[in-house]
Amino acid sequence: MNLTPGLRISHRYLRVWRRNVQVYRKTWRVSFLPPLLEPLLYILAFGYGLSVLVGDVAWRGEAVPYVAFIAPALLCIAMMYNSFFETTYGSFVRMYYQKTFDAMLATPLFLEDIIAGEIVWGATKAVIATAIMQVILTLFGLIRYPEGLLILPLSFVAGFAFASIGMVFTAVVKHIDLFNLPIFLFVTPMFLFGGTFFPLETLPAWAQIVAWGLPLTHLVELVRAVGFGRLEPSLLWHLMYLAVFSVLFFPLALMKMRKRLIK
């Protein structure tokens, strides 16, 4: 059987997505809490605690209050965490411990439908978390509308990219503890150096170059501009940079998963 070329996803990926929605709905009260409380904690600690020391931050030549500076970054971090953790720890548990994928493979679903459903679900979780957080940040007056409405579709694009990257790791790790590696080498550096808590310009030149290679940097730049109501054509480059990650890692995730599970 020829299983190598092409993406070969059918609409049935929605069934896998629906299964995850159904499980999520069972625990939604608990799942809603982190995105609800996290921004409050960050704003309290960084915004009010730290901003006394920091004051205003320079962004594109303007002085921006520190709370306003980090608010869009908090959304971006939530997009990354929710999608990446879903397709790493979440998918790995379903695949490896619960054998959920094996059970699905005995139905009309093919592996491509399953993996696509998982990745789209990861992106969906990014959207859910973003929506909740955005409500809180909006209450603090930290996001401008109507431009801010674009953040939700952006969260899906970003979630899809990070979920695809996460799924590639899930396809190759031998054991669940090994996720510490991509988190330590990839996710945490982005969390710290993606233009999130301080402007990139404060870094040495070489570090800035490295930082611009990271997808989160582009997402933060994009969401910050949108959140401040500063739509301009140059933002499309950042969007395309994120799209490239999806275009590369989504097919790679399918390929690596086939290699792992089809025996």
Binding site: M1, N2, L3, R8, R12, R15, R18, R19, Q22, V23, K26, Q98, K99, T100, D102, A103, M104, L105, A106, T107, P108, L109, F110, I262, K263
Partner: protein, 305 residues
């Protein structure tokens, strides 16, 4: 369509290891067809190719008349088969009823119809009062019954069971057998792998015994017993040299296991009286030959991994 499975020269290799080494068999519609063999014989590899989990390494395979090496046809076939895999891979994040309903959605069964079938199946496996129970609270036997119910959610033309009773206690095993006999009576085609000979004799119309990826024999359980083990067996514990000489002189078919000798015979009473009167030091019994005797005779008595 006379056959539900037609395998010809079917092969499965994993790198240098050959799991299924060119086997040919056909399972008829409406029958329960068994694939027997010790661990590592190639049973599960065979059955996984049949339900589309593993690609073929060689040969040809028709399931429900369709060539399953073609993806489009395989998808069609997957709608019409029910699979009970070896692991209890129920969805632990869903309740008993939800497990059936969500599984039904994978077959494009609309929600009202899925709920109706799920409840009917829960009655069939006598689990209707546990519909909201979380999966981890079920016993092994109940889980197994639910896996069977789940495999029936699409009203399959072919039910595939991979070692359905492994690890169950005798009560649960008999419960499951009764359900399977009920299904067989309704005319559903069943493909079963097992290494329990009692299970195979009771359920299978025809079977193959495999070892090292090849088919050793094929036939009806009773015919195989008659052909390979005879009617009866005399088992003698701690046999002496005199018995061994007796068996050799008379040219009796036998297996010498050191501490035990099995003599295959058709003229039961006369031979048994003779053996038990003259050569029986540590107990000897006369019993009917079973499929297990055939199995051990053909696949040997060494331990498998």
């Amino acid at each position: 369509m006379e056959y539900v499975v037609e395998a010809e020269n079917l092969r499965k290799t994993f790198g240098a290891f050959t799991a299924v080494d060119g086997i040919t068999f056909r399972a008829r519609r409406g029958e329960c067809f068994g694939i027997l063999g010790p661990n590592g014989a190639g049973k599960t590899s065979t059955i996984r190719m049949i339900y589309g989990f593993s690609p073929l390494s060689g040969g040809s395979l028709l399931v429900l008349g369709e060539d399953v090496t073609r993806r489009r046809l395989l998808r069609k076939v997957k709608y019409r088969i029910g699979v009970c895999q070896q692991d209890n891979n129920l969805d632990p994040e869903l309740s008993v009823l939800q497990n059936l309903e969500v599984y039904a959605s994978y077959f494009d069964i609309a929600a009202p119809k899925a709920a109706e079938r799920a409840l009917a199946l829960l009655r069939f496996i006598a689990l209707e009062n546990r519909r909201d129970t979380p999966i981890p609270e079920l016993s092994g036997g109940l889980m197994r019954r639910l896996v069977l119910a789940r495999a029936l959610i699409n009203e399959p033309d072919l039910l595939i069971l991979d070692e359905p009773t492994t690890g169950l206690d005798p009560q649960s095993r008999h419960q499951l057998w009764e359900r399977l006999e009920g299904l067989r009576a309704r005319g559903i085609s069943i493909l079963l792998t097992t290494h329990y000979m009692e299970e195979a004799s009771r359920l299978c119309d025809r079977l193959i015994i495999m070892d090292h990826g090849r088919i050793l024999v094929e036939g009806k359980p009773q015919e195989l017993i008659r052909e390979h083990a005879g009617k009866d067996i005399i088992e003698v514990g701690e046999p002496g040299e005199e018995l061994r000489a007796f068996v050799r002189d008379r040219g009796l078919r036998h297996d010498d296991l050191g501490h035990r000798i099995l003599i295959y015979c058709d003229e039961r009473d006369r031979l048994y009286r003779e053996v038990s009167e003259h050569y029986c030091r540590d107990g000897c019994i006369l019993r009917t030959a079973t499929l297990e005797d055939v199995f051990l005779k053909l696949t040997g008595r060494e331990l498998r991994e």
